[in-house]
């Protein structure tokens, strides 16, 4: 059998397993609460696996190894930041966010600030970030299927979109939870097994350092590759810290991450779940960089041909050869599709939740509205992915993180810890932060970015847009003291009081 044959079988198995496990969950999904938040009964262990499965997207599974192979150690800041983002989330928002008792980010904004305007604006941002993040998933799926089986570049995206839609339409969050938990362990296995074999080969060959390999080309000497500072020779320190800020603070603002917290039974469980997630992410992120490092020794031609994103898919076959190598490569391909499916499912649920509540609520109700919204949530980014050339998986995901860090991070942090936040301040801060981050990256993509310092500031905007957003939010809130929500103290009390204390927490929003 050919290598493409093994890959097709592997990918088909992932699709079938996803639908089968989803179908198992369909039986339990009856109420609106099941569809949105799995009726808040998911335990920390299962929930953490589901969060891990959802969070580890194409950018983590394929992108990290490719970036490390191409640019070296500095790119390790991405996986480190994506994990540390969960620590920041744990420390600043996990338990209070769960206690707020809201379904989505706009729900939180409305109940905390008692303003419909903030709600509408947050809904817009959730949909924007969600689509920005969904697009590269579909594009990545097309790329992966085209690389391994030689089909057209559109087929992978369409297949992933179809499977996601079927599961979300029939099972909502309840069935997605099972599917994503399964996919975390599948992704881990798919990277771990080949690594064991490949490390044995590497040690057998004498275990030389990847930095000692000579791959040619400028800026690619071993020392340059091993340096943990990002960027070329200029503004290294700034660029590195900008990546750190975007990833550390962007995680909490991603709609599909936050929506998961509402599925915990209580605040303490939300914290324990997050801690569990930290462990699972740390376990996973050890693996992709190994592909990047070994790729520098065993597949250096991928760098010059610009196909570094495929190193995870190709390296096992190259290092081991024969049927073993082809089987292991098929395993990593299957894992990649698990990554596309799980992240797209989570994002679809999050975006559909917001769309159905804030855009379609008038005409449809409950489960019907959710299902109609899910179709829109998938079809629009799929169309965009098919029509446009795309900006590259890692680039688009990086943009989403910088954008989330500059908008939702200040809203959540100040909303939870600062009583005097006002709706005017929140909107002003999100406008300034989102406008700055969005504008900067659009300018870079459009190619109008200047050289030198302005160019560095525009390419990685998070280091200045995040503080700016915090500052604007604080200053405008202080300037509008009369707009402090009437029940601010009461809301704050219910966010921070442990569930063991009997409080009248007021009506849940909607």
């Amino acid at each position: 059998m050919t290598a493409a044959g093994y890959s097709i079988i592997g990918v088909t198995c992932v699709f079938v397993a996803t639908l089968a496990i989803g179908a198992y969950g369909w039986r339990f999904s009856r109420t609106t609460s099941d569809f949105f938040v799995a009726s808040r009964t998911v335990r920390p262990g299962l929930n953490a696996s589901a969060i891990g499965g959802e969070y580890l997207s194409a950018a983590s599974f394929l992108g990290v190894a490719g970036l490390v192979l191409a640019f070296g150690t500095e790119m390790l800041w991405y996986p480190v930041g994506w994990t540390a983002g969960y620590l920041v989330l744990l420390v600043l928002v996990a338990a209070p966010l769960r206690r707020s008792g809201a379904y989505t980010l706009p729900d939180f904004a409305e109940s905390r600030l008692e303003s419909l305007g903030v709600r509408r604006f947050s809904s817009l941002l959730v949909v924007a970030i969600g689509w920005l993040y969904l697009m590269p998933q579909f594009q990545g799926a097309g790329l992966a299927l085209a690389t391994t089986t030689g089909t057209g570049p559109w087929l992978g995206g369409v297949l992933v979109a179809a499977v996601v839609l079927v599961n979300v339409l029939f099972g909502g969050m309840r069935s997605i939870t099972f599917v994503q938990a399964f996919q975390y362990w599948l992704k881990l296995t798919a990277l771990l097994f080949p690594v064991l074999f490949m490390t044995a080969v590497w040690l057998g060959d004498g275990g030389v350092s990847p930095a000692s390999a000579d791959v040619g080309g400028p800026d690619m000497s071993g020392d340059e590759w091993a340096s943990p500072l990002a960027g070329g020779s200029e503004h290294q320190l700034y660029t590195t810290y900008a990546i750190i800020v975007a990833t550390f603070f962007g995680t909490m603002g991603l709609p599909h991450v936050v929506v998961r917290f509402y599925t915990n039974p209580d605040g303490a469980a939300a914290r324990r779940t997050t801690l569990f997630v930290l462990a699972l992410l740390g376990l996973f992120y050890v693996l992709p960089p190994i592909y990047g490092g070994l790729g520098r020794l065993y597949a250096p031609d991928l760098i010059s041909s610009g196909r570094t994103d495929t190193v995870v898919l190709e390296l096992p076959a190259r290092m081991l050869g024969g049927t073993t190598g082809e089987l292991l490569s098929a395993l990593t391909t299957a894992g990649a599709f698990a990554a596309f499916l799980s992240t797209s499912s989570g994002l679809t649920v999050a975006v559909a939740g917001v769309l159905s509540q804030d855009v379609m609520g008038r005409r449809f109700r409950g489960v019907r509205a959710f299902q109609a919204a899910a179709v829109i949530a998938v079809v629009v980014p799929l169309g965009l992915a098919l029509l446009t050339e795309g900006v590259g998986v890692a680039r688009a995901v990086g943009l989403a993180f910088a954008f989330a860090a500059s908008t939702f991070c200040p809203l959540l942090v100040l909303g939870i810890w600062w009583r005097r936040l006002t709706d005017a301040g929140a909107i002003a801060g999100m406008l300034v932060g989102g406008g700055g981050a969005g504008g900067a990256v659009l300018a870079t993509l459009a190619g109008v970015a200047p050289d030198g310092w302005p160019g560095a500031l525009l390419a990685q905007p998070a280091a200045w847009t995040v503080p700016l957003a915090f500052l604007t939010m604080t200053v405008v809130s202080l300037a509008t003291p009369r707009r402090v929500p009437r029940h601010a103290s009461r809301t704050m009390a219910s966010l921070h009081t442990p569930e063991a204390v009997q409080l009248d927490r007021g009506p849940l929003p909607r």
Binding site: T73, G282, A493
Partner: protein, 124 residues
């Protein structure tokens, strides 16, 4: 303890009802947003925020300090441990246990804060 367990005696007082009526549970104080309730809430909020900032500061120094150290001492990049470059060893492996340990200590301390808070309310 002595072997002869004393017989259980029901202790009653005609004034119990009257004294109880004057006590307001602390949770009600918080709900009613009285001055006392605000004091309870502020103290919980402060201790949780201080803990959160402490955890963030630890990460900022231990992880956020890595780029600065390598920028000041670029020669460190060339150091290798068992054929693995030092920056690689730090960022690909050592960081994750550190992050988890920070999170673990934080969760323990945050739950202790909440337990203390609940105990204070129960006692009052």
């Amino acid at each position: 303890m002595s072997d002869a367990t004393p017989r259980r005696v029901r202790v009653t007082s005609p004034r119990t009802g009257a004294t109880r009526a004057q006590r307001v549970p602390a949770a009600r104080e918080i709900e009613a947003q009285t001055l006392l309730g605000e004091v309870y809430m502020t103290s919980l909020l402060r201790s949780q925020l201080r803990l959160a900032l402490l955890a963030l500061a630890a990460v900022a120094v231990l992880v956020g300090g890595i780029p600065l150290v390598f920028w000041l001492l670029p020669d460190l990049s060339a150091v290798e441990v068992l054929a693995v470059p030092l920056p690689w060893l730090l960022l690909a492996f050592a960081v994750y246990p550190l992050l988890f340990a920070t999170g673990w200590l934080y969760v323990r301390a945050a739950e202790r804060n909440e337990r203390d808070f609940t105990d204070v309310l129960d006692r009052s």
